[in-house]
Amino acid sequence: MFPLVSVTLFLPLLGAALLVALPGVSTRGAHALGLVVSGLTMLGAAGMWARGAGAGFSQVEEVSWMPSLGAAYRVGVDGISLPLVLLTVVLFFVSFVFSANVTERARSYMALFLLLETASLGVFVALDAILFYVFFEVTLVAMYFIIADWGHEGRQRAALTFFLYTLLGSLPLLLAILGLYLGSDPRTFDMRAFIESPPLAGLAAMLAFIAMFVTFAVKTPIFPVHTWLPAAHVEAPTAGSVILAGVMLKLGTYGLVRFALQMTPDAFRVAAPYVAALAVFTALYGAFVALGQTDLKRLIAYTSVNHMGYVVLGVAVAAAATDTGVRALALDGAVLQMVSHGVVTGALFLLVGMLHDRTHTREMGELGGLLRIVPGLGWLFILAAFASLGLPGLAHFPAEFQVFLGTLRVYPVAVVAVLGIVITAGLYLRAIQTAFLGKPSERWHEMKDLGRREILTIIPLAILIVGIGVAPFLLLDVIHRTTEAIGL
């Protein structure tokens, strides 16, 4: 049957190759091409969604690459990866629409983004450990160049920190994959084989788990290895930080579920209390630091740390849960949180980007009373902010509800993380109050509201935010089918 997954995966790469190949393309042409390609990829992803994902891995496509080593090109999706694929294609399409105003070196900008799209999709659909690692590294390289070339003032240092952090972080994963490979008796890199019969046990499994956890902790990020996130976000171009927050953080959490949880289940179960404690601390820490921020972008970056803390809490609870019901509940919450965080934080970064285009500052103090002047942008920011603080009826509530419900059942004391909701509420309201409400200072009088391009970018995300909040079952049915079947 038609290899839809592979086609969708390599379509952006084809676009990037096309852009590199014909240097004569004008800026507008490059934007148009980027849009068309990412649009087609979105169609492909919709096709994949239509085909649906069963309990295990479905739509699997396999081409032998190194049979004598057991490495092959294997791609496929399941309930956990399919929603993330959808999230990726949507966010990329939206950021392509948004970055229509990028003028300098637009061609290579588009090519890098298309490459990044293929790499991120690759990570979610890869079923072969080497392929997963290859795409994992390529996302890193692409993002480095995006930040380094199109970022703001301190971009070089931020890009370098980002690169060194995640590269050093990704090496333990390489060791873990090798460990798994050498542990599996018919020597193979097939992740499905790792999941069905976890190859390692005892100390080796624990070592592999720790290695994997370090890599994904850097990528998620989790406290103490999270300092690259705010620096990278503040310096990255708007579209870059939308992708960085929307998609790249999910690589870490997706890896945590796919590798740490499914491939070394008993090791994770032993380490679950510590991971849960760290997750709760990260969540609260993220919220507190966000409260201390005056720069809007850093504020949102730290709230991402908070939200990712909830995801890791969900996964840790799932690992520790004995009965499948609670495990499914916590995992559903974690996966849905990933998707909704992608949409909400993506929208927030876009809005802050639009604000930055107009005011060239991200300091809340300097802004004031903007709701009167730019009502469109203002109200959308309020919608996204309320979604981010977990207001029911919007994207984050169903996910956080499930995570906390699951947490209460397994680690009652860990539910102190709920305090995070109030702190986030406090910081967002303070942000809205200082930036949007109150008397508008005359500096911003001539500011004009959202342009057509900006509306086209933000409206789909707003619809998604309300959609996921009101009707989470559309996503949850698919996710639940897989999380139910995960028998650890």
């Binding site: 820490y285 507190f288 059942r409 909701i421 509420a425």
Partner: protein, 605 residues
């Protein structure tokens, strides 16, 4: 079942229409709320006829969302619908010259829909969702005139207060669902033992937050900066009632210990906020304090063990208090302020409105045969018959007295002084809304009987309490009218307005304990306020510290690493002298070292 759907979807559709068409907002809003009323009435009739509607919507996996129409919820839905209609009617007039009609009516319709969902919700998740939605609506509506300074701060404070208290609801729900395994409210209430006690206390915390009981009543005072229809609808009849509604619906869950705590909390609130009302200089803030106090009554009734009395008082209070607020709205328009000093003599100027205002006030004070008397009497009777009568009954009496005092004082202040008759635009619409509610305040007393029978439970009646209640109410009124506040409160007065917001009452007998209680609550109130924002300040401190560690600590590490390797590189390079003989010597010594290692290795193994 369509009627239940209509009650919710009516206002929701109106909201969408208003936002879409952005024209004729008031009409559309009225239409929406009217549809809700029709839906609620038909549901009520249906339910009265014995029908029970239930609908399940797909929600979270194995936690579906449910809507139920039981007698209790149907009655509540009807109350909300009725009050909404009248307030929206009034708001049409109130907002005539005001800008932002589209935003206002859209948010009001949104609120109505959310309130109906909360009332009709059959499972905890939907209830929690609606609970937070009305919090959002209150935030938006309080902050309607967000340009004026102070309003945004008040809206934020209101939302944060309720949000912090809502944590209690979150935790309570988690406990209930995990114990009962399902999110269906009736089934979760049979959960017993310590879980039930913990859950009930948590639910009580959330309800106290929403219904502005002490110590969480600070936000309601601040919320008065919103437009008056908002205060009328949200901050008197519906939103603040959500706390009481939640407690009434979750009543079976409460073990006796929790009931006592609830009753005590209610009683304390009645007295404290009553004192505040008495000493208040601003009409709307007075009415806000009185709202907290009246909800204290309902908690008293619940604590006394008769949810039906609480329901009755809730119903009646909704009508009376929104009427009073609507009246104050008219006065506000006339004198463009709600300070008593500015409102002197407005009574004479607007005799008709003042008459309605007075009737509603008297009903509130519990003057027979108005509606307030019946419900207040039921509450006093309930506290009298309850096992904890020794605590609850005296508090109820003092509360009634205080109510009498501040109603009378308000009327007196509004009546004396000469009139300056400025025109008030849209008086006809406002009049219509106001008169409807006043009529209700009068008539509703008689409707209580059939209502309680419908809900299945019967109003406690006791001749002694009836006489005593009426007597105390009249005494309060007389005191309020003739004795000036200074003589009533004495030393309390000055400090009361500023922060204590606590009135005097009987000098010796009441002052000292009230003052102590007031000071305690105020510091507590300030503490909570600082607590909520303090978390931020503490957080800020912590945040600033953690932000510093971020930049200095961990990033520094990475670049120190880079510098370290470079210096190692230079040292390695110096080894490369370029002189062959030195290099040869190094090579030979290297070989000798390897040989030595090897020798040790082979000998050791």
């Amino acid at each position: 079942m369509t009627s239940v759907a209509l009650t919710i979807l009516g206002p929701l559709a109106a909201m969408v229409a208003i936002l879409a068409i952005r024209y004729a907002a008031p009409a559309l809003a009225l239409l929406g709320v009217g549809a809700a009323l029709i839906g609620a009435i038909t549901t009520l009739v249906g339910v009265a006829g014995g029908a029970r509607y239930a609908a399940t919507l797909p929600g979270l996996p194995d936690l579906p969302l449910r809507l139920t129409a039981t007698p209790l919820t149907a009655v509540l839905a009807a109350i909300v619908a009725v009050v909404s209609v009248f307030v929206i009617l009034y708001a049409v007039g109130y907002m005539k010259e005001e800008g932002g009609k589209v935003r206002f009516f859209a948010q009001m319709s949104f609120f109505a829909a959310a309130m109906e969902t909360l009332v009709l919700a059959g499972d905890w998740v939907l209830l929690l969702a609606a609970w937070e939605m009305i919090g959002l609506a209150s935030y938006l509506l309080i902050g309607f005139w967000y340009e004026e300074d102070g309003i945004a701060e008040a809206a934020t404070r209101a939302f944060l207060y309720t949000r912090t208290a809502d944590l209690g609801l979150y935790l309570g729900i988690f406990i209930l669902i995990s114990q009962a395994g399902t999110s269906e409210i009736p089934r979760t209430l049979e959960v017993g033992g310590s879980a039930a006690f913990a859950a009930s206390l948590l639910v009580l915390l959330a309800a106290a937050g929403k219904s502005a009981q002490t110590p969480l009543q600070g936000w309601l005072q601040a919320a008065m900066v919103g437009p008056t229809p908002v205060s009328a609808l949200l901050h008197s009849a519906t939103l603040v009632a959500a706390g009481a509604i939640l407690l009434i619906r979750a009543f079976p869950l409460f073990p006796p210990g929790a009931l006592l705590i609830m009753g005590a909390l209610g009683g304390v609130t009645v007295v404290v906020t009553g004192l505040m009302a008495v000493a208040n200089r601003d009409l709307k803030r007075l009415l806000a304090a009185s709202t907290s106090s009246q909800y204290g009554f309902m908690l008293l009734a619940l604590g006394a063990g008769s949810p039906v009395a609480a329901l009755a008082h809730l119903t009646v209070h909704a009508a009376m208090k929104s009427a009073l607020f609507l009246g104050s709205g008219v006065f506000q328009h006339a004198r463009s302020s709600t300070e008593f000093s500015k409102l002197a003599g407005i009574g004479r100027e607007r005799p008709l409105v003042f008459a309605g205002f007075a009737v509603a006030g008297l009903a509130l004070a519990g003057v027979p045969p108005l509606a307030g008397f019946w419900s207040k009497d039921a509450v006093i009777a309930a506290t009298y018959e309850s096992p904890a009568a020794w605590l609850l009954f005296p508090l109820a009496l003092v509360g009634t007295a205080l109510t009498g005092i501040y109603v009378a004082r308000t009327l007196r202040l509004l009546w004396k002084g000469e009139k300056q008759n400025e025109p008030v635009a849209g008086i006809t619409w406002m009049g219509a809304g106001l008169s409807g509610l006043v009529a209700l305040a009068v008539v509703l007393g008689f409707a209580l009987e059939p209502l309680t029978r419908l809900v299945g439970g019967e109003l406690p009646k006791d001749l002694l309490t009836v006489m005593l209640g009426a007597g105390v109410a009249l005494g309060g009124l007389v005191l309020g009218w003739f004795v000036s506040v200074d003589s009533l409160l004495g030393p309390l007065r000055s400090s009361a307005e500023k922060g204590f917001r606590i009135g005097g009452g009987f000098e010796q007998f009441v002052a000292r304990p009230a003052l102590a209680v007031a000071r305690a609550t105020d510091t507590f109130d300030g503490g909570i306020h600082r607590g909520v924002l303090g978390v931020g300040r503490v957080g800020l401190g912590l945040a600033r510290v953690s932000r510093l560690t971020d930049e200095k600590g961990i990033d520094g590490l990475i670049f120190a690493l880079v510098r370290g390797t470079r210096s190692l590189g230079h040292r390695a390079r110096r080894l490369q002298t370029g002189l062959v003989h030195k290099e040869l010597l190094l090579a030979v010594t290297g070989g000798a070292l390897i040989l030595a290692l090897l020798a040790i290795g082979t000998l050791a193994s």
